[in-house]
């Protein structure tokens, strides 16, 4: 396979993958009788054309940053955690239990507590597949998928039978106390000049940014990160160096699950203000696309999360204003994963041909 310049590998490969996914989606839109140009217009206007749109785009991006980072951290340890969806749902349970436990006086106190709850619950949900992988050799991909299904069954049961307040019809927890309400962008001084009060984007966005920095620091500056990456690259070498595989699988998966769980402070605490069924709404899976697209680097994850935030909000608008069903988002997401994660060699090969032709032209 041709060697590409590093910048091409880091920047061009994901971009071209995205373009190809978009092109195929456009063909699908044409095939079902829609107008791709119209669709793009609606998406751009809906997601980026107004403060309202940006408020949603950034809100979605916040969730995707967490789940994308979750996939990335596990990936660096050689673990493919596709259980982010379940971990985020269980993280939501942690948030709900914390928020409902006390009459919180102010969000600045409630937020750290909720973060701990979300992180711990998410990590706990990742702990079982991680333990089974480390100790019993179970395939982590399959077990984390199973745990997604088990998580949704568990949440349904808890919401219907345990957490639903008496007299309430829909399966959800009670509303969180007012003191646990996170300020939205419309309520933050400075940002409020631009955003209106009812946008869902909230302070969690800044927590997500801090998480990006934290993950970068962890992976490339600390001993633990060094060991996680070494284990992920080569298990026999890790054994030689005295790095415990069990510990690396456990630690990386706990951090991964914790990050996925932390997503819940964005959607459960910041937006819904109560725990609903299927609260993660697929964000856990989008984390896979975000991590692959972002090349498992926090900066890449941040940019890819913004992109998917745009696609998500734009897609919702498209579903509202055009005849194209909202499920186009799923198709696009699948195609992005396919091109960046499985057909990446094809993309590289195409780029290689291009670069060789250019080199010849120059010579």
């Amino acid at each position: 396979m041709d060697k590409l310049p590093r910048w091409a590998d880091v920047v061009l490969v994901p971009l071209i993958s995205l373009l190809m996914a978009a092109a195929i989606s456009a063909l699908v839109i044409l095939a079902i009788g829609g107008d791709p140009v119209e669709a793009v217009k609606v998406m751009v206007t809906g997601a980026l054309g107004s403060a309202y749109g940006w408020g949603y785009t950034l809100y979605y991006a916040t969730s995707f940053i967490f789940t994308g980072l979750a996939v990335s951290v596990a990936y660096h340890a050689g673990q493919f955690n596709i259980g982010g969806e379940g971990q985020a749902q269980i993280g939501g349970l942690g948030v709900a239990l914390v928020c409902l436990a006390l009459p919180w006086p102010h969000w600045t106190i409630a937020l750290p507590a909720a973060m701990i709850g979300a992180g711990l619950f998410g990590a706990a949900w990742a702990a079982i597949p991680a333990y089974l992988a480390a100790k019993r050799g179970s395939h982590i991909v399959i077990t984390t998928i199973m745990f997604n299904y088990i998580a949704s069954a568990l949440i349904v049961y808890l919401l219907v039978e345990v957490l639903r307040p008496a007299g309430q019809m829909d399966p959800a927890t009670a509303r969180f106390p007012a003191g646990a309400k996170l300020p939205t962008f419309g309520e933050i001084p400075g940002l409020s000049l631009f955003f209106s009060k009812n946008v869902p984007a909230n302070v969690t966005f800044f927590v997500a940014l801090a998480a990006c920095w934290g993950v970068w620091l962890l992976l490339w500056r600390t001993r633990l990160g060094y060991q996680i990456r070494a284990y992920g690259k080569s298990e026999p070498a890790a054994l030689y160096a005295g790095i415990s595989p069990t510990r690396m699988i456990m630690v990386s998966m706990l951090i991964s699950g914790g990050l996925a769980g932390m997503m819940a402070i964005n959607n459960v605490m910041g937006e819904a203000e109560r725990l609903l069924q299927n609260s993660a709404e697929g964000a856990g899976f989008i984390g896979i696309a975000v991590a692959l697209m972002g090349r498992n680097h926090p900066i890449g994850v941040f940019l890819a999360a913004l992109l998917f935030g745009f696609l998500y909000q734009g897609g919702a608008e498209m579903g509202l204003w055009t005849t194209i069903p909202i499920e186009l988002r799923l198709l696009l997401q699948g195609l992005v994963i396919l091109f960046t994660g499985a057909l990446d060699n094809m993309v590289r090969m195409m780029l290689g041909i291009f670069f060789r032709a250019k080199a010849k032209g120059a010579a």
Partner: protein
């Protein structure tokens, strides 16, 4: 549980096990050839949609079946290109195609029928209808065996019997034919096949195509046999349960039958919470029953499997030395 109820549960066990069995055998061909496939789910789903749609439009279940197989084989081909030709990550390819299927099925069904991503209800020749096995009337009166024959074994659609037949056929192909020998070899040590002058790539594509075919049957059965039409996400994780059954079965055809029957039985029980309550005296919440196959799968994966050794070359793209 009385005998009549048991027969009812067993009857639905067979129905519910059929898509699992077909998908499990599908996965068996692929994984025995060294290609992991967690995209069984997506292939079943898209086959379900295609067959439901084609059957609704044409009024013929056979055209539906062909459409289902075609759609499933298309996804299989993409998986093949990604994992064989371009040596991509087989797990990621499978996950991606599952999402593609989730999105595409609703998009297409919605644009065709505008019924919220469903296909119209099927009836008559657009569905696989029950087949009465011979001598059912004659044997029915025989105590014990008669009702079992008439109520459990007889009265299923053609695809149920096709799935059961697929088990010995798979065994025979795998262990008694040249193709089977090469297929098993390519999943264990592709170099042995390559140096023997046999194309690794062609063998693996053939295996992936068979996977597509069997998943097509599984999906078509879902939409035109088990149910009367396609509904969004109708496979509901069956592709993953089939995958777990495959591990449980240690990648062997007969074991695959028993494993999928077991999981089918669990699903059948989950549909009848009343039976459990009557039999065991406790009410088990429905979500717990829904989760049971998944929990069981995890337990299976955690070590009930014993020493299940997967095909040695599984999941690794084949690169010639150097």
């Amino acid at each position: 549980m009385d005998y009549a109820t048991l027969l009812q549960v067993l009857d639905s066990t067979l129905r519910l096990a059929t898509p699992l069995l077909l998908a499990c055998l599908a996965g068996l061909f692929s994984e025995r050839a060294g290609i992991f496939d967690i995209g069984l789910e997506g292939k079943m789903l898209i086959a379900g949609m295609a067959s439901g749609a084609a059957a609704a439009l044409s009024g013929s279940v056979w055209i539906g079946l062909m459409a289902g197989i075609g759609a499933s084989m298309m996804l299989a081909a993409i998986h093949g290109v990604a994992s064989i030709t371009f040596r991509g990550n087989q797990l990621i390819s499978g996950v991606a195609l599952n999402f593609v299927a989730s999105g595409a099925t609703v998009l297409i069904a919605q644009s065709l029928f505008s019924q919220g991503g469903r296909t119209p209800p099927l009836s008559g020749a657009a569905r696989f209808n029950p087949i009465e096995l011979p001598f059912t009337e004659a044997i029915k009166s025989v105590p014990f065996i008669g009702p079992f024959y008439a109520d459990v074994l007889s009265g299923h659609s053609a695809l149920v019997y096709a799935a059961l037949l697929a088990v010995p056929v798979t065994w025979w192909v795998l262990y008694r034919t040249r193709f089977g020998l090469r297929l098993r070899a390519v999943g264990e040590n592709p170099e042995s096949v390559d140096t023997a002058g046999v194309s690794v790539i062609r063998l693996r594509y053939t295996a992936v195509a068979i996977t597509g075919l069997l998943c097509g049957l599984a999906g078509a059965y879902m939409a035109t046999g088990l149910q009367a039409g396609f509904g969004r996400e109708m496979t509901a994780g069956r592709g993953y349960i089939a995958l777990a059954a495959l591990i449980f079965a240690k990648w062997r055809p007969w074991y695959a039958l028993w494993a999928t029957l077991l999981f089918g039985f669990l699903q059948a029980l989950a549909l009848r919470p009343d039976v459990i309550e009557r039999s065991f005296g406790v009410a088990i919440p429905v979500p717990a029953l829904d989760a049971l196959p998944y929990i069981l799968t995890v337990i299976v994966l955690a070590g009930f499997v014993g020493r299940a050794i997967p095909p040695r070359a599984g999941g690794q793209p084949y690169v010639k030395e150097r």
